[in-house]
């Protein structure tokens, strides 16, 4: 795949907790950026779905967060750090269907317990680190074919 990329590209978005009306904006902009440099459509789809789920988690659970992306000729890496409550039991949180989202979040269409599994499913490497009371960092890499 010939990408229109001569040097590494990186960027950062700030995310604000509770702000549902602009939720997804960062992921959408990233989607356009990847399209601009000619990344394969299916790869874009995977990267944006994974990013969007991570972005929504910050909106739902945290006070604020940052989304960093690093695009190289070989891959895209996305790191999302938040100042949130942290995840008590990561193993449990990775289980499909498990969610600690309150009812009002479920009424908005989120908190089905599919977020972290969707992120993992769509990335080639996926790591999540969390400290209760401090925050969570998710790092995902999607390789270009």
């Amino acid at each position: 795949m010939a990408l229109n990329i001569t040097e590494n590209i990186d960027g950062i978005f700030q995310l604000i907790g509770g702000n549902f009306s602009t939720a997804g904006e960062a992921s959408t902009q990233l989607k356009h950026k990847l399209a601009e440099i000619g990344v394969d459509e299916e790869i874009i789809r995977r990267a944006t779905i994974a990013t969007f789920e991570a972005e929504m988690n910050v909106i739902i659970y945290a006070a604020a967060g940052w989304l960093h992306y690093y695009i190289t000729p070989g891959s895209i890496k996305i790191r999302i750090e938040d100042m949130g409550p942290g995840i008590e039991n990561i193993e449990l949180a990775m289980q499909e269907g498990y969610s600690t989202a309150p009812e009002w979040v479920r009424e908005m269409g989120w908190g089905a317990g599919m977020g972290l599994p969707n992120m993992k499913k769509n990335s080639d490497t996926f790591t999540v680190d969390s400290v209760v009371g401090e925050g969570t960092t998710v790092e995902m890499v999607i390789n270009f074919p």
Partner: protein
Amino acid sequence: MTLKKIAEILDATIISDSDDLNVQILNACSADMMSAVLYYHTPNSLLITGLTQPHVIRTAEIAGIKTIVFVLNKKPDALTIDLAKQKKIPLLSTPCCMYTASGRLFSAGLPGCLTK
């Protein structure tokens, strides 16, 4: 199946009239939970949902959804409509509930979205 045909089957009103009614829809996904939409493979799909907020439009854009139909006569606010116009995602509103809307379209031959 065209958007026009879908609107007929569901007695639906088209919310933004600038949209191309001949756009082809390949299959459908019924959900209120947005992660379910993101879980399935939905390029060129129809989304049948009961939620009308802007993040539904963004989910649709990210998932490649072609059209959204809101059930139970729900109408989105101006912010959501503007965003949908910007993203070129036509919006419909049907008096049917999600069950009837899904049932009618399935019976008319529209398949479910791919699960991979």
